[in-house]
Symmetry: C2
Subunit: 184 residues, 2 copies
């Protein structure tokens, strides 16, 4: 098992579809477009909303939009929003538990940060700095450069057809609750 869960992968790939989108996208449409579980993604987006990465709108055309520029959304922002700020190492201050200290560890054994923890904090910082240095915008440009020229127009059509279908159904009254729909 990896340190980061699959929620991070689903969350980032979900967010990539929002880059450059002027219309809100529902988490159901994103999940189906991306071929991932909707129930899974529907639990991730509220965390991204809480972290101020996306904003939600309701209604038949509702869904999610990025809440700020993709260049201002770092991988670290996304990881922390989805996983919580999980430390690399949870120091139990084992250094203070030496049998020779009894119940009173001396000052030299308790002052400052444990030297083991110092190394772990440095490693954590190196990892977090790297994640903070890469933005959703960077990766979206990388995908856009690789994609075939007709790909994004096809995506817009695919999404537009789904929204159009929902709008027509709502007008015909087939989905009277749709005006109060969640952004799912």
């Amino acid at each position: 098992m990896a340190h980061l869960t699959v929620s991070v992968e689903y969350g980032i790939h979900g967010l990539l579809w929002l880059v450059g989108s002027d219309e809100p996208l529902s988490s159901r449409d994103i999940a189906e477009l991306q071929g991932i579980s909707h129930s899974f993604l529907a639990k991730i987006f509220p965390r991204l909303e809480k972290a101020g990465i996306v904003r939600a709108s309701e209604g038949v055309r509702g869904g999610y939009l990025l809440a700020r520029s993709p260049d201002d959304i770092s991988f670290l922002d996304i990881v922390d929003a989805i996983e919580g700020r999980k430390p690399l190492f949870d120091c139990q201050d084992v250094r203070t538990r030496c049998a020779l200290f009894g119940d009173a560890p001396p000052a030299w054994a308790t002052s400052g940060v444990c030297a083991v923890h110092v190394v772990m904090l440095q490693a954590e910082k190196a990892m977090r700095d790297t994640l903070a240095g890469q933005s959703l915008g960077d990766v979206a440009r990388s995908f856009a450069t690789a994609a075939s020229p007709d790909f994004f127009p096809q995506v817009r059509n695919w999404l537009g057809e789904r929204v159009g279908h929902r709008v027509r159904n709502a007008r015909r009254g087939r989905s009277p609750a749709s005006k109060r729909e969640s952004p799912e």
Copy 2:
């Protein structure tokens, strides 16, 4: 919960007692000296032995010694020995699952490493490079500098008394199995 388990903390603190020790130390003595669970530590040392970080000797004076210089044992060696080489991110290649691709994702969507995974690999490398750049010897020197001058002589006495007690018991035949004792 942190990314690294408490086993890593116990393992590193356990190993620190072996730095500069010419005599093997049993995992029971190390655990009691450090005030940590022996049953827990006894599961960690075989992993360190398998990774070539410690070597074990049996018998009433048996135990563990470092298998190489503490300056040649990095934090990364220890973490990988205890936790296994756990990736930061387990890429499921979600990029290939777009609904528009059907069962045949195009070459542009599958070639090379996914741009999301590239970022995660960079972050993982930054963390691992930091852990690889710090040795058990570095941290042992940091502890030795902080410790009071009488601490390590007291530790040697404490350990010596326990080994002496076992040797006397073995000579008196109170522990006939002791000659075949494991390094626990």
